[in-house]
Symmetry: C2
Subunit: 407 residues, 2 copies
């Protein structure tokens, strides 16, 4: 009547207790079984059983004996064995694939990026490149890690998280692609694979390890071919009713505006994405890349803009000013609607910030109804193009702490 | 280490326990002290003390004896005495003030609306009208209620909820007005007064008692001179970092658009608010009302539009079509960003819905990136112009259940 608490079933209890012990060792460092029992309130027999399971799964190891100068046999210390467990994060985007592996201590133990051309290449070729990157990553970490905790794949798409599938990816021209099972079958093993939106995972990386880590109300904007939003509200990722929130790139900001990758006209992304910037600022470069179907990563593309901006190219500087204004226009809508503490610009925005950030911020402030934009700070990500892959890896690692029995 | 639970101080414990007992009587109906002790797990002496305090505050009364055919003295039943406690909600808007009083059972026991002209009247005159409405309401309910649980005032403004003050109200042309203390001092007593944004309180009413009550992800749009948004995410009202969220009326939707009450150009409100609709559809009516400084409520204003639309006036019908398109454009942005289950249109939108809702919905769907607008339903409020006042009254009542000691 008063409380909705129900007796948890045994499986849930075991999972929660495994997580409790693992997190204690992670947060507080090595300690004995007796200390674990003491601090968790679990009885000693249960702790022994849980620890045995964690050791068995390669998540915990025995460190040695404590010399506590007491009578009797000194207890054995237990330690999180995170160095031998790899959590993988991948990002598949229009022009690159990035893989990052971290250990359970959060250290990056592997990172690789390759340029692709997913917009024009056949889908199976792109999925093969992704699978190949996964296998390379697993192989590379296998020298130091004996356990793969799982894989999370970031994609520039509306995602059905439960199914691990892309619903719709405008810039890849993909609909209903079962990315999760493709990746899993590429490994031929039972590794747990999750799929999530790139902006959500980028926001998650910012929330966990970015320079504004822990900020309860933050918005992360991806800067790729597409522009997406990962939105943290009161410390929780906004997902919406069916996981389709944060599609800020398709806010309609310009009546009669240019055509977007999604087919509509006047989307924010069609004005502030990397491709429209290249078209306005360095059309010759874009034409060359497009004609050659060359695989050119986003860093290389934006480098052309930066070089000419540094050289004082007036066309490029004017394009960047206009870009900043449109960026600020959409940001103001997000400020008016969410009242965030900070908006963090990811991807290529960092590289061109010196020539457009002031314009963006001024426009954002001018079009925000709250005084001083409600205190919102406009910031540039320090995680660059690998934010989503890093967020994906952290997401994988945190799943281990939530459910160590799932490894 | 593991848990952050700290021993609650005695005051908190007492407040929580009072709330626990009161909610039990509210949700489960009359019962004895012994039953209350049983069901809450509190000991009998504590329950007796809590019940005495609740009776003292007029929130609980003794109903009579239970005939349980058992030995010994039959126990006395306790009942929520909500009929004698009034929770007040007021809405101050540009062209009207509404007061609603409900009892703790949720029944509306008083409702009154008067037309004002807050945009041109001096501020002190409007505040005097508000204070007078509060006094009338208190007087009207005093015949049936012996306790005023508190007052919540809804305003079309950015609000500092903690201070009970308006930060900025574009359509009233007010900045930094301490509405809460003005209302409190008008009563000359120590009644608790809260102030909150009209859209937030309208959304709260929809979430509690509207036709989509309980929908975890809903957006409520106010339809007044101004247009605001109250946004419920996962069952919680979105407030943002400093309470300035939901200012959807000032989303910049039209480059070079008409001027808004806030001074900017191209805000959504300047295209879909009541005033721009009157200007486009029935300019003669608007000119007349403006010239005469007549106090005309929003219902009366929109009735002119409805009458001419019913008569087939082509100017009015064209204006409504255009209105629907711009409405849908802004709604699509909200759908793309929040992925709500339902968007509920409040205020005057209901009255003109027959001539513009299809157009609005079509545009909303066309500009949403998620298939089928992510499943979002477009709905019209059944609470009309009194949604915010009703939400304010419910807010007041729920505060009693959260903290019965505060009455």
């Amino acid at each position: 009547v008063i409380s909705n608490l129900q007796p948890a079933d045994q499986l849930t209890v075991r999972r929660n207790n495994l997580a409790l012990v693992l997190r204690l060792l992670h947060d507080e460092g090595p300690r004995s079984r007796a200390s674990v029992a003491n601090e968790t309130g679990l009885n000693k027999a249960t702790v022994s059983r849980l620890v045995a399971e964690l050791i068995d799964r390669g998540l915990v190891r025995e460190l040695g004996l404590v010399n506590e100068r007491r009578r009797g046999r000194p207890p054995t210390l237990l330690e999180l064995d995170g160095r031998h467990v790899a959590a993988l994060g991948l990002e598949l985007n229009v022009d690159f694939i990035t893989a990052i592996a971290i250990d359970l201590g959060g250290r990056v133990i592997f990172q690789r990026t390759r340029a692709i051309d997913a917009a024009t290449a056949p889908r199976h070729q792109t999925l093969r490149a992704l699978a190949s990157m996964v296998r390379q990553t697993v192989e590379a970490v296998s020298t130091s890690c004996n356990t793969i905790a799982g894989i999370t794949v970031a994609v520039p798409a509306l995602v059905d998280v439960d199914a691990g599938a892309i619903t719709f990816a405008p810039n890849l021209h993909w609909s209903n692609v079962d990315v999760g099972s493709r990746v899993a079958s590429a490994l031929g093993s039972t590794v747990n694979v999750s799929v999530d939106n790139d902006a959500n995972l980028g926001a998650f990386a910012e929330y966990r390890v970015g320079k504004h880590a822990g900020t309860a109300n933050l918005i992360y904007i991806t800067g790729q071919t597409g522009v997406g939003g990962g939105i943290v509200v009161d410390g929780r990722l906004l997902r919406g009713a069916s996981g389709f929130s944060g599609e800020v790139g398709h806010m309609h900001v310009m009546e009669g505006g240019p055509q977007c990758g999604c087919g509509r006209f006047g989307c924010w992304e069609a004005l502030v994405g990397l491709r429209p910037l290249l078209r306005e600022a360095v059309p010759d470069v874009l034409a060359m890349v497009d004609a050659a179907h060359t695989r050119v990563g986003p860093e290389e593309k934006v480098a052309h803009v930066v070089r000419r901006a540094e050289a004082g190219d007036t066309r490029v500087l004017a394009a960047l000013q206009r870009h900043g204004r449109w960026l600020g226009t959409g940001l103001a809508t997000l400020v008016n609607v969410f009242n965030p503490e900070v908006v963090i610009l990811g991807g290529f925005f960092r590289d061109v910030a010196p020539w457009m950030l002031d314009e963006a911020e001024e426009t954002m402030r001018a079009l925000s109804i709250a005084p001083d934009a409600g205190g919102c700070q406009l910031s540039v990500s320090t995680l660059g193009f690998s934010a989503a892959a890093l967020g994906a890896a952290i997401h994988t690692a945190e799943r281990v702490f939530a459910d160590p029995g799932g490894v």
